[in-house]
Amino acid sequence: MTVSETTQCYHCGDAVPSAAYEAEGHPFCCLGCQSVYRILSNSNLKQYYRYNQHPGKRKGGASARYEYLDEASLADKLIDFRNDKITVVTFYIPSIHCSSCIWLLEHLYKLHPAISVSQSDFLKKQVNITFKHAELTLRGLVELLVDIGYEPKITLQDVIKEGRRFSQKGLVAKIATAGFCFGNSMMLSFPEYFGMGAFEAHYSEFFGWMNLGFSLPVVFYCGRDYFRSAWHSLRRRELNLDVPLALGIAVLFARTAVEVWSGSGPGFADTLCGLVFFLLVGRWIQQRTYHHLSFERDYRSYFPVAVTRLGGEGPKPIPLADIRVGDRLLIRNNEIIPADAILLKGHAAIDFSFVTGESTPVQRVLGEIIYAGGRQTGEAIELEVVKAVSQSYLTRLWNNETDKPHERNFRTFSNTVSRYFTVVLLAIAFSAMTYWFLANDAVRAWGAFTAVLIIACPCALALSSPFTLSAAMSVFDKNRFYIKNTAAIEQLATLDCLVFDKTGTISSPSASRMRFEGKLSPYEWSMIVAVCKNSTHPLSRELVKWAGETMSGCLAVEEYRETAGKGIEALVDGHRIRVGNARFTGAWEKGNGSRVYLSINDEVKGNLLVEQPWRKNLKEVLTELASGRQLHLISGDNDKEKAELSRVFPPQADLLFNKLPTDKMEYIQSLQARGHHVCMFGDGLNDAGALKQATLGIAVSDDINNFSPGCDAILDGRSFVKLPRFFRFAKDAVKVIHMSFGISLTYNLVGLGFAITGTMSPLVAAVLMPLSTATIIGFTTIATHLYATRNQLVKKQ
């Protein structure tokens, strides 16, 4: 980076060009940054710049319009609470990234007196604001946030509200209760283990009743979910891991109750409480989610909250759901078309990049149908809606899927094992019971039967998956690969067929396609662009797009001549311009990559290196992934890059072009029908169906806070090179689960030795259970870390 040598913008840290903006002696890169600084400076908020250098983010593009927030019906959907004086609202602000952000967002009261409290949540990227709505409207508040560079993301499918649904409060309360009972019952069980004298015998009865009391909330409140889940699983004629667990809990409680009641023994209350406590902790670990990411997004989070309808009373913002067929809509620059509609007025240049992956805007003429999902670029246009939002082409594709809930039946290892485990466990328990019955020892028969179910209760087994996978998940997370849940990691290890989308997935949309080497004045540039505008050659078009955006005015071109396979030449203002290959322009051929050479009056001025927009090391990544897996490419684009891609992809890979979104989905289906575990990599709306259909759908995104379609995992584009390592590590994680399963099974076998003789003392259970749990937690954590180090996914200390 050469940034350190040049001047940096005081606000955002971007390099500042020579003619920069300035305020109070600080340089700024653009008007946006300067105006943010002015606002903060005027409100005495300059401390913002003290906590971090260049804490701001450059304001990108034109911000959305917020007239619709003045509509009470829409505003009501967004706010959390309102009374006659104050309103409370929570915004999701993707640009929160440092401590300065927190500081500024919590000092909003200095910017506007109507704001009384604002509190930010860094990890969720949210800010909760209380303000007096008599002095500041919701729209005013949002515009204020936009002005200081913290634009809230307002969508219909609110990330905030979605996040609230998955509250873990209930589970945490259960863990606390179980922990409380565990600690107390252990304390009360100690005297029994250490041995009490005969004269203290009346205490043991008291302790027994206390213990029974403590186990009541553990069984009936904390362990409730296990019984419920076991019951559901039995009704579906399956045996999940909760069946032996619920059985274990029930038997532990029954035996404790019987022993305490009859005074025949101390019972197993401490083992019972410990078991439930550890199980709940494992469940809690497994349920950790990403608060700032959403994997379940549908079209509503992509479309705007409101659109402008043109009616008798003039333009009026209406919510998306109120759009009726026949409505006239006004779509301004950068707004998204929410429903299939006919163009009535204006010049439509629709950017369908998110829908099809094609970045060049599509021109439409009056009377043509424009499909929903495109973004208008240029002047405002008027449309007449022909289909409701939910019936539009893309949304229907999406809805089709949601209508028939795609049963994601991940066959996890523990589910597979538990079927056999439960059967074997019951067989051992019953045979032990029968044996002692035949030996005419009914007491021992009962003892052996319950002891088997207690000691073999698969606590450690139930914990090995969550602990391993959550450790693996945090490793992935540090490498910018965000996986929806732990089951998806197991799924990752089984994949044998990878399907890639092209644009935005294996190519990076932000990568600049051209790099100029040489020196040209702006005037010379405009001459070159003027010549290239006459050519239909793809490279000329790229050049015009790359260089021509800043050019204004058009120079007259004379004697234009294009030689196929060589280049173009023409006279501009009396200068002879040549654009083409090295020999054509008389330049020295330079190595690597395809280049376009430029010459003016037979003097070579430099060359443009046409860079492939593919992601870094794409070929190496794909070659490595191809071992043991099939690779496919499926693209909505035409096949102009087929030759180039077939060099990048391994020879046996299928490359498919010109595919519609439904084709992609059906292609995945056909692969699955052949018994493959398919992983789809995609990025756009057009991949949404395929991502859902695939065994594992991975959305590749260069900005994870941006919209990404519903999927099982989100991969940051920068970590694309790590994919082969991710796959290897997922396999290793499954290996760790297998190993820890072996360990917990050993513990079970040792315990069974005590159990079938019918002479197991509560002490054995009380020692074995926590010991096996601790071993498993320790083993999985260390083993996962070791494998992560071996796959170079954690930095060595």
Binding site: E106, D121, F122, A173, T177, F180, G183
Partner: protein
């Protein structure tokens, strides 16, 4: 030795108070955000130019 009944009663009672305190903290959302407060406490109290202090 019957004082042990009283002592156990006391210890369970105290433990229950802590459990209740935890429930209250959990319910009032103190475990919702475990990261931001750690940064918030590092911010300096600023001295206002006009001499008026705000909390």
């Amino acid at each position: 030795m019957s004082v042990i009944f009283f002592l156990i009663g006391c210890s369970v009672f105290i433990a229950l108070i802590f459990l209740a305190a935890f429930f209250w903290a959990n319910k009032s959302g103190q475990h919702e955000d475990t990261y931001t407060p750690s940064i918030r406490m590092l911010f300096d109290d600023e001295v206002e130019d006009d001499g008026k202090t705000q909390g």
